[in-house]
């Protein structure tokens, strides 16, 4: 008999609020973040980083540093190059304006001959202690020949701008043009209404609170390298390390324990990871690096940094006829595939969002500058694109003196148009956008705003109301996941997935999906992730973990039951068709004959039931939402207070309601951070100006917390096994335009009219105060 008691599975399965399986260890201080693992004999790494945005490395003198106490080795870029460490590959299916392939400067683990952004690592010191390594790093003498630098992508387009890549005629990494320019020209010719907005989507520092940490160890006996690090993509790190060091995949194991926040910033390998891997092999000792916060601001990827000039044409009824966008995205010095893909492809996929707009003309440039690399940050392309269309919608509504919700309604794709193919050939499987809008307006008491505005006015405040209705693309373009399921006689079901927990609680959600199928208590499911020796895949990014990883867990669990049913039929000597499964037990229908799932596992020759299952979803999911917020501006100081925020979200089937709400609200606060607070700033010479938490303003606890968040679960995704849509990025994408639209509404009402649309993020008190007095920053793209 099975030892498992009968349970009410409904208490633990999907749709139910459960306590997260991740929590007990994290709350007890027993988590296992990379820096919590400290093998005997571990050495510590400190990097020497370039103080210049652009310079030739004349010489590096490591003699003094090498003689300092406890120093095991000092590595330079020249040494790594001599040792055969290859630059990180950049694979980008794009072209430059002249049709030639993308050319980027070689990104090396340690800079060799040239540095191209302030903070680029040029040497690595390995020592017995962290302090010893730091002190020795300070003793490394690097002579630089400083070169002119450019940090602004538009400035980098000027003919005389300093070049990032030698020999190129310009700084353009890649260009892309989408849509039908003639059709859009015609739309603008016949339009009754035309509006334009200039947009700065400023550079952000993703800033997970856990800094990057890497522990690399080489086992001489097995000749294998083990890299433990904080990453969303263990397999991708393995691939990059193997490529750079010329190793076969089976020579490298990547292990990921707890990850203290990712937000896209921990996708793929960093140069530092490769440098440590090299050091561990060279020294045959475990070597560890925990980034200082300054290093995170300098060299962990940044997000956004796209400027654009955007136009919309509408007919007299407010039907959008066409959209034209000219945008310049900053890739940083070392353009990566991700950094180019985000502005040139991923953003454009959702430019028309939930609106029935077929005429688009998008002209996009990805431009290199002497700054840190731009990569993925929560939303990666969708926040930028949705910000554009939602700002245009508000501009058009203002021009037409229409309710912005009404203008959006007139343009929404109707349910009877599903599946809908947008002008970027993206197919939306489902969506009832007007229904979500109606619920959002009701939740926010949209029509009761006038009274609240009046109340704020009496209190000396300027109140504004903003809306964003939108969708997002999800999946990371990786639609498949492998899952293994192991049922053991000790009463456990181990589910192994290659998606990666990074704080979002995916282990809990995957366990709940397994509970749905196995009908056993949640504590019988053990979710295992983060070990490339066990499983490999794309990892966690693009809000894919639940709807792709979860679908694969669902399918693998069902396959396990199917497999076990055959084994039960053998054990019970009955036809498989007569075997029923319920709550951890197989029985022969109509009899009292039966066997427990775990007992059955014990009867197998290898003492377990094991299923190796790969499953793919049919396409991206299209989560969508209506977010509405209200702000109050203090006209004396220009400070903005968020005072109301309501959202109705369609993420299809909700597996873990509390986790989903946490994703939307926590994500929204990041989006509010972009709207009001955050800017990773460089001066024109390339010096970072906001490289600490005292200068880079993260949202703090004194911000807004009274979110009203609802989910409409009646519109499941039709292209995956569980009906869920992604949720990780939705809040971030919606909050930024929603808040900015509210501030512009308040400025408009305060007498700024359409001029208010010239205000740029972040909406700091200084900027808002100036806007109230008619003083705005110049548009980023002139002419």
């Amino acid at each position: 008999m099975s030892a498992v008691p009968a349970v009410e599975v409904g208490r633990f399965g999907s749709g139910q609020q459960v306590k997260r399986v991740e929590d007990p260890a994290l709350l007890a201080g027993k988590g296992q973040f990379t820096d919590d693992v400290a093998p005997a004999r571990q050495l510590h790494v400190a990097f020497v980083r370039s103080p210049h945005a652009h310079a030739r490395i004349v010489s590096i003198d490591t003699a003094a540093a090498s003689k300092m106490p406890g120093v095991a080795a000092v590595f330079t870029g020249a040494q790594l190059a001599a040792a055969g460490v290859k630059p990180m590959p950049v694979v980008v299916p794009f072209k430059r304006p002249d049709g030639s392939d993308v050319v980027t400067a070689p990104r090396r683990a340690l800079a060799h001959e040239r540095v191209r952004f302030a903070g680029e690592a040029v040497a690595m010191v390995v020592a017995a202690s962290r302090d010893g390594a730091r002190a020795a790093a300070d003793a490394v003498w690097v002579e630089y020949d400083e070169l002119p630098a450019v940090t602004d992508a538009v400035a980098a387009l000027k003919p005389d701008a300093p070049r990032v890549v030698d020999g190129l005629p310009d700084n353009i990494a890649a260009v892309s043009q989408h849509g039908d320019a003639k059709a859009v020209d015609a739309a603008f010719e016949r339009a009754a209404v035309k509006v334009a907005v200039d947009i700065v989507n400023q550079r952000l520092a993703p800033s997970p609170i856990e800094p990057r940490t890497v522990l690399a160890d080489f086992d001489a006996k097995s000749q294998r390298l083990t890299i433990r690090l904080s990453s969303q993509m263990p397999t991708g790190v393995r691939t990059s390390v193997c490529d750079a060091l010329g190793l076969k995949p089976d020579a490298v194991r990547v292990v990921v324990g707890d990850v203290g926040g990712g937000f896209g910033m921990k996708t793929g390998a960093y140069p530092e990871d490769i440098a440590l891997a090299h050091a561990a092999r060279a020294l045959q000792r475990p070597v560890k690096w925990r980034a200082e916060r300054l290093e995170e601001f300098l060299s962990a990827v940044h997000g956004r940094d796209v400027v654009s000039h955007c136009e919309m044409a509408l007919d007299a009824n407010g039907k959008v006829l066409g959209v034209r966008v000219k945008a310049v995205g900053n890739t940083g010095a070392y353009a990566t595939g991700t950094g180019i893909l985000i502005p040139l492809v991923i953003g454009p996929w959702v430019t028309t969002s939930i609106y029935d707009i077929q005429a688009i003309d998008l002209r996009l440039q990805a431009v290199m500058t002497h700054t840190n690399t731009i990569g993925a940050y929560r939303g990666a392309g969708r926040p930028e694109a949705i910000y554009v269309i939602e700002r245009l919608m508000d501009a058009a509504a203002r021009e037409m003196r229409l309710d912005p919700a009404e203008l959006r309604r007139r343009n929404m794709i109707r349910p009877d148009q599903m599946p809908y193919t947008n002008p970027m050939a993206q197919v939306y499987d489902c969506g009832q956008f007007e229904k979500i809008l109606d619920q959002g307006l009701k939740l926010a008491d949209w029509h009761g705003f006038a009274a609240r505005r009046e109340a704020s006015r009496r209190a000396g405040k300027l109140r504004g109301r903003g809306i964003a209705t939108f969708l997002e693309w999800t999946s990371g373009m990786a639609f498949e996941e492998r899952v293994t399921v192991t049922v053991t006689p000790d009463g456990m079901i181990e589910v192994n997935s290659a998606v990666q927990g990074m704080g979002q609680g995916i282990a809990t959600s995957l366990a709940q999906l397994a509970v749905d199928v196995f009908q056993v208590p949640l504590d019988r499911i053990r979710v295992v992730m983060g070990d490339t020796d066990r499983n490999n895949g794309f990892g966690s990014a693009g809000s894919r973990s639940l709807f792709i990883g979860g679908s694969s867990v669902h399918v693998a669990s069902k396959r396990t039951i199917d497999e076990a049913r055959k084994l039960a039929a053998d054990a019970l000597e009955a036809p498989a068709a007569d075997i029923e499964y319920r709550s951890g037990r197989f029985s022969v229908s109509g009899t009292d004959l039966g066997i427990g799932l775990f007992e059955l596992a014990g009867k197998q020759h290898d003492g377990r039931i094991y299923v190796d299952s790969t499953n793919a979803v049919g396409g991206p999911s299209w989560p969508n939402a209506c977010h509405v917020c209200e702000v109050e501006i203090d006209p004396a100081t220009g400070s903005v207070q968020l005072v109301a925020y309501a959202s109705v979200n369609d993420i299809g089937r909700v597996v873990s309601p509390q986790i989903a709400r946490g994703q939307v609200e926590g994500g929204a606060v990041q989006g509010v951070g972009q709207a009001l607070l955050e800017h990773m700033a460089y001066d024109p010479a390339g010096q970072p100006l906001s490289a600490s938490f005292m200068d880079y303003a993260l949202p703090r606890v004194d911000g807004f917390r009274a979110f009203k968040t609802e989910f409409d679960t009646s519109i499941p995704c039709t292209t995956n096994a569980i009906g869920s849509k992604g949720v990780g990025e939705l809040g971030t994408i919606g909050a930024t335009p929603c808040v900015v639209n509210a501030v512009i509404d308040a400025l408009d009402h305060a007498g700024q009219g359409r001029n208010a649309e010239r205000v740029q993020m972040p909406l700091t008190p200084e900027r808002v105060w100036r806007a109230l007095h008619g003083d705005y920053d110049p548009p980023p793209l002139q002419g």
Partner: protein, 159 residues
């Protein structure tokens, strides 16, 4: 190397510390209590917050030798006789953590508050946690968790 003696989580401890060694490095290193995290190494994020003689203190900006003779409590010392602290229960009930990296600091700052104030207002909680950064939760559920913990503790006290 000087020897520093202090109490940690109720037990006597001693550690060898150079004058420049930080308390957090001793806690995480020699004492192997890795629940206290280093998020910014500059006293700006609050992840390393511990209690020193009952006061919420950033262990990354306190020299280990300054803890001589003090009573230090880390997140590992919150539970009592194997029973989770009310804050630990409330944080999981209210989903007050996601990645959990800032959480030990949040818990210790909140614990310091609840020692002083059994019935904190929302403003009191915001004030107590102003120096603790969280990038995941948006703070919504963290404040709710502290309110819930205070309620649990008051209910226990009344019982």
């Amino acid at each position: 190397m000087p020897t520093v003696q202090f109490k940690i989580n109720g037990r006597a401890a001693q550690a060898q510390a150079e004058p420049q060694d930080l308390l957090v490095d001793v806690i995480r290193g020699q004492l192997a209590l890795t629940g206290t995290h280093v998020g910014c190494d500059t006293g700006q994020c609050g992840a390393c917050t511990v209690l020193v003689d009952g006061q919420a203190t950033r262990s990354c900006t306190l020299l280990a030798v300054q803890a001589q003779g003090c009573e230090v409590t880390t997140v590992e010392g919150l539970a009592h006789n194997g029973e989770p602290h009310a804050l630990q229960r409330a944080f999981t009930d209210c989903h007050g953590l996601q990645c959990g990296f800032c959480t030990p600091g949040m818990l210790m700052s909140a614990a310091a508050l609840l020692r002083e104030n059994a019935d904190p207002s929302e403003a009191d909680i915001v004030d107590a946690l102003e120096g603790n950064l969280c990038r995941c939760t948006g703070y919504v559920n963290i404040v709710a968790s502290v309110q819930e913990a205070a309620r649990l503790l008051r209910a226990k006290g009344a019982a």
